[in-house]
């Protein structure tokens, strides 16, 4: 066997290939995408039921409610990020490939965001309007959710990789990720609240963007390392 027979595909091919496969899988199992969305909607509905239908109270609570619901929905979907791959052995194939694992996990995380974070962003204006959030602040909320869910997907993939294959993985995943997600939650909710109150909020957006960039540059490496460790 000569050397030219071992040409490996480029990094982009690895990233896009993993991304495409996970999107294809999501397309074939729409329930995995839809269930967290229904969950998100239901959690948001719980609050008016629990705290009463007073419009001022709802508008005041809206950013927090939306963000907590989004955080929980993301956690719900994160659980399955590596689980199926672990069970059918495809994780081992990723580890045994000449492609850098970081690239492949980044492809998977991107697919996770496209199928969990992005739908939340798209759905959120509906909920925000129902909560009487001022219409002018809705795009602020969508921006915070978009940036925040990117960070949550990246951060969560580290947790998912650490807990894959463990018995009580689901509960453990929440335990690991929730404290780490605190800055995202704080920046997200405060930014929307400030915007709703008519105050300067750009600081929060910058912080969220900075966090997302930081997570994008560091988290895939942690995820790859964690996956290697989990599959020993």
């Amino acid at each position: 066997m000569s050397q030219q027979s071992t040409q490996i595909p480029g990094l982009l091919a690895g990233l896009l290939g993993t991304l495409r496969r996970d999107l294809l899988l999501a397309w074939k199992r729409p329930g995995d995408v839809l269930n967290p969305l229904f969950f998100f909607t239901m959690v948001c509905t719980l609050f008016p039921v629990a705290i009463g239908p007073s419009v001022e109270q709802l508008a005041f609570a809206a950013p927090g409610v939306l963000w907590v619901a989004a955080l929980l929905a993301t956690l719900l979907s994160l659980n399955s990020l590596f689980l199926a791959d672990h069970e059918d052995g495809s994780i081992e194939q990723l580890l045994a490939s000449p492609q850098p694992l970081v690239v492949l996990t980044l492809g998977k995380t991107t697919a996770h965001w496209l199928t969990s974070g992005l739908p939340l962003v798209v759905l959120s204006p509906l909920i925000a309007l129902a909560f009487r959030l001022p219409p002018g602040t809705i795009w602020v909320m969508m921006t915070t959710l978009a940036l925040g869910t990117i960070s949550l997907s990246l951060l969560g993939s580290v947790g998912a990789a650490l807990t894959v294959g463990l018995h009580r993985g689901t509960a453990l995943l929440s335990l690991l990720i929730l404290p780490l997600a605190m800055p995202v939650l704080i920046f997200g909710t405060r930014t929307v609240s400030l915007a709703a109150a008519g105050d300067a909020y750009s600081m929060g957006l910058f912080a969220l963007a900075a966090y997302a960039v930081g997570a994008l540059s560091l988290a895939p490496f942690a995820t790859a390392a964690a996956l290697r460790i989990s599959n020993e």
């Binding site: 071992t6 595909p9 045994a96 020993e232």
Partner: protein, 203 residues
């Protein structure tokens, strides 16, 4: 001349148990290495250690005269790992599953149909894998061997779930691979229908 692939002074410890200690073997082009031993003796662990999934306590593998650890990517580019779990997605069709491989390694995607044909599962190409029998799924997984352009085949009990015709077919495929200068390391607990120079390691 040094052998194509060799292992030196391998010691592997899993948890509390030492699976093997100071193990050596060597393998040249065209040779089959059979890993033998009872259940739990560390056959799969040794294969995983070759792929780099497990860390060795001591020792190293050498490939083309240099340590594998110094050329991991080139080594993996020339290797196919057929694990006990097939690594195929139950929701995808055989063609979709195999096409994904081209993202991971040098792969002849254009020949997928021919490979499925040879393995006798071409008519199932559009069905989701979950509707296939275990033996048929294994045949789809074997198609990866034919399509990947790799000289090292690592196989963990590849004959599992195959009928007698499938066993003969896989034996032929492995024999052809070895005749063309490849090499194969296989964990097997029974005799394999491969007609090639064979070395054995008992764990």
């Amino acid at each position: 001349m040094s052998p194509l692939f060799s292992a030196h002074n391998l010691t592997l410890i899993r948890g509390e148990r030492c699976l093997f200690r100071e193990l050596d073997f060597a393998l040249d082009a065209g040779e089959l290495l059979l890993l033998e031993g009872r259940n739990g003796s560390g056959k799969t662990s040794l294969l995983k250690a070759i792929v780099g999934l497990l860390e060795l306590e001591t020792g190293e593998f050498r490939w083309q005269g240099a340590p594998v650890s110094a050329q991991r990517q080139a080594f993996l580019a020339d290797l196919v790992w057929l694990a006990h779990r097939t690594g195929l997605k139950p929701d995808l069709t055989p063609v979709e599953n195999l096409s994904f491989e081209s993202a991971l390694r040098a792969f002849r995607s254009q020949d997928i149909d021919a490979a499925l044909e040879r393995l006798g599962v071409l008519r199932l190409r559009k069905l989701p894998l979950r509707s296939l029998s275990a033996g048929q799924q294994r045949r789809v997984a074997l198609a990866r061997l034919l399509l990947a352009q790799a000289s090292i085949w690592l196989m963990d009990e590849p004959f599992t779930n195959l009928d007698s015709e499938g066993r003969t077919l896989l034996g032929d495929i492995v024999t052809e691979h070895l005749e063309s200068g490849g090499l194969c390391i296989m964990a097997a607990h029974q005799e394999v229908p491969v007609d090639a120079p064979t070395r054995r390691v008992t764990l």
